[in-house]
């Protein structure tokens, strides 16, 4: 059987790390114009903006590079009433998309999680061969890895070796 799983890096996107207390999430959701996810690993999409809950008080917001003001401005406006920390981390990470019928198996070569339990539309922070990554399942056979910039050569190297091994039928 031919191996057609594609590993590609994605163009830069706007990323924000949002930390705030539970009692402020209502005001934050109102400012953003959509409900922030309330359970860890839940991903909410509203237009071009996505919000992923990583921890009890931590979210990762993403948007296209030229629409960053859509996140920054409304949240800055409610800062006085709903104290939070919004940090732009756009250049910190690079996204890698792994798509194709063997995507799950390819990622399982270096990720200790049981990827079958990661449902479509969910994302988690986890490890990939000791590198901390945010792993999102965009579709049944499509994953996105958000990797800190300096670890990208390592992760891409591992993925390309694993791809070659799969291609050889190892």
């Amino acid at each position: 059987m031919a191996f057609n799983t594609i590993v590609e890096t994605l163009p830069a996107m706007g990323r924000f790390s949002l930390r705030c207390k539970r009692e402020n999430t209502v005001a934050m959701s109102k400012a953003l114009g959509f409900e922030l996810p309330s359970t860890i690993s839940e991903l909410v999409r509203s237009g071009n903006v996505t919000a992923l809950k990583l921890g009890p008080d931590e979210w990762m917001l993403t948007c296209p590079m030229d629409e960053r003001a859509k996140i920054k401005e409304p949240l800055a406006a409610v800062y006085a009433d709903a104290v939070h920390s919004l940090t732009e981390v756009s250049s910190r990470e690079v996204s890698i998309r792994v798509s194709g019928p063997e995507a799950e198996e390819l990622l399982s070569t270096s990720c200790p999680r049981n990827l079958r339990e990661l449902t479509v539309g969910c994302g988690v922070r986890t490890v990939f061969d000791s590198v901390q990554v945010i792993l999102t399942r965009e579709e049944q056979n499509q994953f996105r890895l958000d990797v800190w910039r300096s670890f990208v050569p390592h992760v891409m190297g591992l993925l390309s070796v694993a791809t070659k091994e799969f291609e050889c039928g190892l």
Binding site: I40, S41, G55, P56, P112, R113, V124, T126, V127, Q132
Partner: protein, 105 residues
């Protein structure tokens, strides 16, 4: 590989995502300045060395990032319970704490 239940993520996850963070339920004295040297030394450095059930802190470093407490048997390496940081130690065996193998200083 050990699977550890994170009380915040509510999932059993591989040990590689976690980090051990020492004995649990050690409260910092409210007024460190009023502590004698011996008391302060005990607070900073003296820990039990349990054979049996041990309450300890863990951190879900590569996950939700939270510290939580766990009750683990140090002989079998089995996790008996994990619970959120502000909760009391679950009732159960405290045998381990009693058979503390700490040498007298």
């Amino acid at each position: 590989m050990l699977l550890i239940h994170c009380p915040y993520c509510k999932e059993k996850l591989p040990e590689l995502e976690f980090e051990y963070a020492g004995q649990a339920h050690i409260a910092r004295p409210l007024n460190p300045a009023e502590q004698s040297d011996a008391e302060w030394r005990d607070y900073l450095f003296i820990r039990s060395n349990v054979r049996g059930d041990h309450a300890e802190q863990w951190r879900h470093t590569h996950g939700c990032g939270r510290y939580f407490n766990a009750l683990r048997n140090t002989v079998s390496d089995k996790f008996i319970a994990t619970y959120e940081i502000e909760q009391p130690r679950p009732t159960g065996s405290e045998e381990g704490e009693k058979s503390n193998e700490q040498l007298e200083s």
